[in-house]
């Protein structure tokens, strides 16, 4: 079980696990729930440069289209083929098997801690 308080978050509903200069990025359970059943995930290629705050991927459900915003600036060093092949992982295990990309970053965007993210998503 992922320790959700150890993760960083964005207002666009990404989560970020930082390990040195590598950020592992996915979308939150809240985002997955809002989207509904995810049926298609499009991720940036390994080697691509991403910029904090810009769209770098797409997550489609039967009902709607969500965008993956890069929470950091840097180079994509890994993209999760598992979630591309099995988009339903986004609903089943958003903080685990459905991680999306790993980025070696030079700069981060604005992060929220768990308490701030929970406050943001409280209805």
């Amino acid at each position: 079980m992922t320790d959700l308080t150890a993760l960083n978050y964005t207002a666009e509903h990404e989560w970020i696990a930082v390990d040195g200069d590598v950020a592992t990025i996915g979308i939150t359970d809240y985002a997955a729930e809002k989207l509904g059943d995810v049926v298609f995930v499009d991720l940036p290629a390994v080697g691509a440069q991403v910029t904090a705050g810009s769209v770098c991927g797409e997550i489609e459900s039967t009902k709607s289209v969500g965008e993956l915003y890069a929470p950091v600036t840097g180079e994509v060093i890994e993209a999760n083929q598992g979630v591309v092949d099995s988009p339903e992982l986004v609903n089943a295990d958003p903080f685990g098997a459905a991680w999306m990309i790993k980025v070696r970053f030079t700069q981060t965007g604005e992060f929220l801690d768990r308490a701030a993210y929970e406050a943001l998503t409280a209805e």
């Binding site: 049926v39 499009d42 039967t62």
Partner: protein, 377 residues
């Protein structure tokens, strides 16, 4: 926001909600896909209490409806239903709706939730000299749909739910619900509460819609879920939308609107131009359709990426239309869309492209519906 009489049950079931035409309605209970597949394979239960109901009564009820709507309603038999259109003077569509004949001088109209007030206004404005009364019963009426191959069996097993004769009708046979034909309706009772059974729906599967007073709706909903067990799944509006799209059924505001004539959406057959009496919209529709007016087509693509409402349709570099509804079809496994396109590119087999957020996705014009249960193996 308006709440369904079943609202507390939906909340207790953990549904997610969406604002649909001012109603806070379940969009899904757990998984849109599981709910969609349940309807194709077993059954789905839908709360569609947001829809609008109007009762039309009076000596002139049939003649009034023939004038107000695009079809011939006065010729419906007792217990017969008909899909029809409420047109504007200029031939645009105010709403698409279903009319049920409940008696010689009594009809029920079920209209879209989002068009309740425009429909109410048009129905009232067109009464003129007709001996008829129109009552908006939307606030008092719940509507539950059970759709799918196991729907009939479940309905028949609900304790206390029985078919009854219409006031002017013959007593129903013991198997009246099974014998009820498509687009037919039947009076009934759930305990002491009068209900209306209709063999209609919006999913492309066999099924029923049951109208009843709000107060009895929760008991019927719970009974259907209990009797159905694993054979029935509560379904939200997300599944309802992908089901109707696969079945090629138009959704008002997407494939139908005031700005389009019925023929453009492939609904020319619904307009009884040959009926001798005047009806609202007739004179406008007697003018030929503009040869450049866009028409509704089905489009299929490969892969997983679906065109969505509002996305441009291209032939070469020219924009020739716009997607009105689209999704990755849960049943078929490939993207499907309906689109309004220029008639020059509307022939079956025409190869077009969709602009999916900057990426061009090939799409081929195909016949509607995308899915029909009779063609399924």
């Amino acid at each position: 926001m308006a709440l369904s009489p079943l609202d507390q049950l939906h909340r207790a079931a953990g549904a997610s909600f969406t604002d649909f035409a001012g109603w806070d309605m379940p969009v899904r209970y757990s998984s849109d896909l599981a709910e969609h597949h349940a309807v194709r394979e077993r059954s789905g239960l839908f709360d569609i209490s947001h829809m609008a109901e109007f009762r039309i009564e009076g000596a002139d009820a049939g003649a009034y409806l023939d004038y107000v709507l695009a079809g011939v309603l006065s010729k419906l038999a007792l217990g017969q239903a008909k899909y029809s259109l409420l047109l504007s003077e200029t031939g645009g569509v105010i709403d698409d709706l279903i009319v049920y004949r409940l008696g010689t001088t009594e009809f029920l109209i079920i209209a879209n939730a989002g068009n309740r007030f425009p429909v109410a206004e048009a129905l009232a404005a067109r009464i003129g000299g007709f001996d008829v009364s129109v009552s908006d019963e939307s606030d008092e009426t719940a509507l539950i749909a059970i759709q799918g191959p196991t729907a009939e069996g479940i309905l028949r097993r609900v304790p206390g739910l029985v078919a009854e004769a219409f006031a002017e009708g013959e007593p129903p046979a013991p198997d009246a619900l099974s014998a009820l034909g498509y687009y037919r309706c039947l009076a009934g009772r759930f305990g002491e509460t009068p209900v209306l059974f209709a063999r209609t729906g919006y999913t492309g599967e066999d099924g029923f819609e049951i109208a009843l007073p709000n107060a009895a709706a929760a008991a019927l909903w719970s009974a259907l879920l209990e009797v159905g067990g694993d054979d029935v799944h509560a379904c939200g509006l997300a599944a309802r939308d992908t089901l109707r799209l696969e079945a090629g059924m138009p959704l008002y505001g997407h494939e139908l609107g005031l700005q389009w004539r019925p023929e453009q959406a492939g609904l020319g057959r619904v307009v009884a131009m040959s009926k001798t009496d005047e009806f609202v919209g007739k004179s406008a529709l007697s003018n030929p359709v503009d040869p450049d007016a866009h028409v509704l087509v089905g489009l299929v693509s490969e892969g997983k990426r679906a065109g969505r409402a509002g996305y441009p349709v291209l032939a070469g570099d020219e924009i020739v239309g716009e997607v009105t509804s689209g999704a990755l079809s849960p049943t078929l496994g490939y993207p499907i869309a309906m689109a309004m396109v220029h008639p020059s590119v509307s022939a079956i087999g025409t190869e077009l492209e969709l602009d999916v957020r900057g990426t061009r996705i090939p799409a081929v014009v195909t016949a509607l519906p995308f899915y029909s249960r009779s063609a399924r193996n």
